[in-house]
Symmetry: C2
Subunit: 147 residues, 2 copies
């Protein structure tokens, strides 16, 4: 689909820091690319390979693969960051391609909707691209044995 950031990532036209963490048949996992250019520290994006815009439209294969991928990715983020919680949400309408944002809530970050507002609208909690790439590599290594 043209003009869809999700599809650009899948096609290789746009490379998130560190490249694909997981490049599966149904879903891909990458580090986030922030709207302003700086990636959001540790925020990963799990998105469908296929262009689709609604969770309701997931195929049986996509929906069956979703939960196990969420679980192992949250586990990897926990082991790497020891966050208070890993948030998982699909509500980003800026990119009309089904994706879950996985956000480790680190020390000093606010709770709940306020954190999401700061991350998604105010673009706080960013990090340098090379740090995000290194993090992507660490998650990839952790997932190597379970995916």
């Amino acid at each position: 689909m043209e003009n869809c950031i999700g599809c650009e990532i899948i096609s290789g036209g746009l490379t998130p820091p560190g490249g694909f963490i997981h490049n599966g048949e149904q879903w891909t996992l990458t580090h986030s690319i922030a709207p302003g250019g700086a990636p959001l520290r540790g925020m990963l994006i799990l998105q469908t390979r296929r262009h689709c815009t609604q969770l309701a439209d997931l195929t049986p294969q996509e929906s069956r693969a979703l939960g196990p991928l969420l679980q192992v990715t949250c586990r990897a983020l926990e082991e790497l960051f020891q966050p208070a919680r890993v948030y998982a949400g699909s509500f980003g309408e800026g990119v009309p391609h089904v994706h879950f944002m996985l956000i480790p809530r680190l020390d000093g970050m606010p709770i709940g909707a306020e954190l999401l507002k700061q991350v998604l609208e105010q673009h706080l909690w960013t990090c340098p691209a090379d740090e995000a790439a290194a993090l992507a590599a660490q998650v990839r290594e952790k997932l190597r044995n379970v995916l």
Copy 2:
């Protein structure tokens, strides 16, 4: 687990409007109960039957069942409300029991994190309990053929 609203719902000590929409081996689906007493219109809660606090701790059975349940529930909400989008997120730290909030974004509602803030912190977009109960019954009817 004592003092866990999630566990109170599972045990029957607390009944969301309309009761269980789905009462499965791994997950249950109910209409939301708002912190202030008034349910949030159409917001459903998919939670684990077992008390657990992190997505990383989901069992293989729980994680395999998650995606298909999210998909069919989003489909039911779409058919009932024709929302612009159904949001799905697990980031409510007020209830330390793994749950996904499913929120149909209806006409007039803001987009993204602002909607979550209005729903979760400002307790806007509520509805009378009997309306929520009727809605729960409608979703239950829709899911009857697919679960």
